[in-house]
Point group: C2
Chain length 549, copies 2
């Protein structure tokens, strides 16, 4: 099942006296979301009490105001929203509500409603001589409207705790609601000999031990990290592992890509031997792509392979590198030249670590997120078009959805092609030109994600030139990259140097470049034998000044 | 299907005039074996012509001599043996012949026989007035005897080439005969993701290119070898690879176990980069266990794994290390500490390389051969008891059978347990005590195979002490090791030092040693929780002087 974006709101509706306010605010409290009653918003908008609106301007005027209130609420933060009892009688409201999230209708028998409402006298609709009959008539009249709700919860006999549990359980069974109530999102990955899980939560590192317990108490393991990440999260990881019986030892490698070498690997072998890690032990890779690659290679080759968990702390590692089993270090003559395919036993993604990332690094990770959406998921792409601000603000549900969905997309390609000999080439979208620009510019000038963003824009234009897609498809890709604050042109870079770097790719020299291209958002195809001139044109344009697009 | 030992002889029988001598000697020529006619041996034994034996002492005397001749021939070298036309009428002869190898009966019609024999007059049985009737009567009388042959080939119309082809094809369909006619023995190994073949032949390296062609002509590959082996076989390997379109480069590492290090691995990465080996390339490991382990590890980790062929040139590597996918280098703190499970794409065993081995190294390899026979194949064990001299003399069919059968046994364990977590522990028979002795003695004093031989003898005694086997089972193991010139006691070694070395094994410290033990030749079981005292006793005895066994 594909993950869906988190609900923008959870709606509590139902007849008066069914307990919308009481139960809605309890639900909001348990979800740590604000609680909003549209009746309050209506009164705010109108500047008078609802009974006065009914009395002075009639029900139709109230319904207009109620719809306006709903729209206003949905522009605000994610919340639990109690509506008026008649809100669902208006098709416009139903559309607004169902597009934003699950709708829970609270129910009660007419007698219960009369008993509960009898104590109050402000309900305009019940100011009649025979309230029970009126209630019954209204309930019958609204039956069809309430039937449009996603879930029904009876409040007749239930204790408050029971009602709360039933509402939460309804949310947990809803594709958009489950993010609100489930502590972890688990994405299964089937690759190589077995399945492993990607476990995501905002504070997942504190649950690490419970997710990855040792087979035997007292087993030694190593937590490989770098200086920066170790300072931030080392203690909490050691504590969590220690609590379940591991005997963990921290092994810290220097920060930076320059240390992704066989020398660092050799140092880690020594550290593992010193720590007494044996064949039953494990390596936990706590950090970004470099830590994951180096520690993964060590785990793959120490005692012919020991267990290994990825604990990615950067967006790039969370959405890309931690899933797929590629582990490697660099050789002076080539990146990732020494490596293996070695699947982790688990990936634990603590989305809370992203708050520690420099903004530029977060935006760089977004380049791969946008790439995944472009090649594989139009719904994710549209979600990003609408909600990128939520993600950039690190709204925890938005982050959990986006990261989990990206892991799912990556897993989809990895499962089909565990050794990267076929369809996995699609993941290279934007990377052919991107790599060339990165090499021509030098890492200090253009980070990997920025180079990929420019590469995506350029390769989108290649697809347009080859008649593979329309201008709108190109425009939407570029617009989303720009919305993410990523470059789509790099006027400072020498196109000749980039072209030379690109030609060093042997496949191009042989005139047989395979390029993944995007015919429409959410799809990708690998184009054989793309002519070098076409690429040169796109590359030159990418290095020029942007002109009206 | 299990491999069977090579035939000791191929028998050509059939009625007179069916062409036994002509066709038998042609078959012998094509198999490069000597040709023997039992009639000639009979005349040698008797010192007179066959017709005189018949005339003077009668047929029964001739038949006695013929049986004696058969026995004599079978004590000599492997050969193609033509028998007299009536040899198969004696059950004793049939038993002798069928135990030694396939029996081909040549056939012809009575008229053909009369035509062919008419020209000669020395056939005692045909000195009658009506030869055609006599032929028919004799053919009928012998029909039952000839029916015991394994194959029948008609010589009525056939050209000589056709008859030869039919005889060879008959041999090729026979489990013992096929070694005589098939240029290669192929043992399939199913492990990990696919199947690969072990190809054995006396001159297999010259066929290497044909067995392992490149996917694309001009592909670069590296032949990793050491100084000694490179000098002996480097040129022929390069030539064979070059001939089929590889662009091979020799990468030589220093001789010896001391260079099985990450440093050598790093040097080989550089060599592969310099040679331009890319992801479509390959590594050929030409040498013994060290070269196979180091080159295999490089192949497993260069560009996340490239194709890799084992070309083992020592007996130990041929019968053990080259099959199973274990590749590794040593760490100062532990042997094989850095490694992987990485199956080769092919194993090419040139049994002819064994002639270059020092005798001590050949005998050391025999320790693992005998171990395989003890734990898994009573027929191989009995073959070795009878024919060890043939193997030690490097008779090419004996070597091909023994090496191939050993690969098959090793493959059997590897296939069931590719990651060495279960039944593969049985292969460790003799190695627990063997390793302890090896570490206590130092490699210069006791080679691995010698230590294993002493270990087998000691662990056989452990099984006896635990009441798991009888004394005869122990005695046969020790006798075969001694026949192979391997030690079964090592009085020079300090038992205390060996015991300390053995205790360093954590499993022993925890009092939970798992030891593979042999209840009878051809079987093995892993015994849990063998008491340390039992082992100490066996170890102390192994380090003492041999006493009457």
């Amino acid at each position: 099942m594909d993950l869906l974006p988190p609900a923008r709101a959870v709606f509590i509706t139902g007849f008066m006296g069914t307990g919308k306010t009481t139960n809605g605010s309890r639900l909001a409290g348990s979800l740590r979301l604000p609680f909003v009653d549209t009746d309050d918003v209506v009164e705010d908008l109108a500047g008078r009490k609802i009974k006065d609106i009914f009395a002075e301007d009639g029900e139709e005027c109230f319904r207009e105001l109620e719809t306006e209130a709903l729209r206003k609420v949905l522009r605000g933060p994610r919340s639990v929203v109690a509506t008026g009892g008649g809100a669902m009688t208006r098709p416009e409201n139903v559309s607004l509500m169902k597009a934003a999230g699950p709708v829970i209708c609270l129910e009660a028998r007419a007698e219960t409603i009369q008993h509960r409402t009898g104590r109050r006298c402000e309900r305009p609709l019940l100011l009649t001589s025979s309230p029970l009959d009126t209630i019954r008539e209204l309930l019958a009249a609204r039956a069809e409207a309430y039937a449009q709700a996603d879930f029904r919860v009876s409040t007749d006999h239930g204790e408050r705790e029971t009602i709360l549990r039933e509402m939460r359980s309804a949310l947990g069974s809803d594709a958009r609601g489950c993010l609100l109530v489930q502590p972890f999102t688990r994405v299964p990955v089937c690759a190589g000999n077995g399945e492993y899980g990607v476990h995501l939560a905002p504070d997942a590192l504190r649950s690490l031990g419970r997710l990855c317990p040792p087979l035997v108490a007292g087993t030694r393991c190593a937590v490989v990290t770098n200086e920066t990440v170790g300072r931030l999260f080392g203690e909490r990881v050691l504590e969590s592992l220690h609590a379940v019986g591991w005997e963990p030892r921290l092994a810290t490698i220097p920060d930076g890509e320059a240390h992704k070498t066989l020398k660092t690997v050799s140092m880690l072998y020594d550290a593992l031997v010193d720590a007494g890690v044996d064949a039953g032990g494990a390596v936990f890779a706590l950090g970004g792509g470099v830590v994951g690659d180096v520690a993964g290679f060590v785990a793959a080759t120490y005692r012919r392979g020991i267990r290994f968990a990825q604990l990615p702390t950067t967006l790039l590692a969370q959405v890309d590198a931690s899933v797929g089993g590629k582990v490697a270090v660099d050789h002076p003559k080539g990146k990732n030249l020494i490596g293996a395919f070695y699947q982790p036993s688990a990936v634990v993604v603590d989305t809370g670590t992203l708050v520690t990332l420099p903004e530029r690094e977060l935006r760089c990770g977004l380049a791969e997120v946008i790439k995944h959406a472009i090649i594989a998921d139009v719904a994710l792409f549209e979600y990003l078009e609408e909600n990128l601000h939520e993600f950039v603000a690190l709204d925890c549900l938005a982050v959990r959805y986006v990261v989990a969905r990206n892991c799912q997309i990556k897993a989809h390609f990895v499962e089909q092609d565990p050794f990267d000999r076929g369809v996995r080439a699609a993941l290279n979208y934007g990377h052919t030109i991107g790599h060339a620009l990165e090499r021509a510019a030098g890492d200090w000038q253009l980070h990997h994600g920025e180079a990929v963003a420019v590469g995506i824009a350029a390769e989108a234009r290649v697809a347009l030139e080859l008649g593979l897609c329309d201008a709108e498809t190109v425009h939407r890709q570029i617009a989303l990259l720009e919305q993410a604050g990523l470059p789509t042109y790099v006027p400072g870079i020498d196109a000749d140097a980039a072209w030379t770097a690109l030609q060093q790719d042997k496949k191009i020299a042989a005139g047989a470049l395979r390029l993944p291209l995007v015919p429409r958002i959410g799809a990708v195809e690998v184009r054989e034998r793309v002519a070098p001139e076409t690429l040169l044109g796109a590359l030159t344009m990418a290095c020029g000044e942007p002109h009206g697009s």
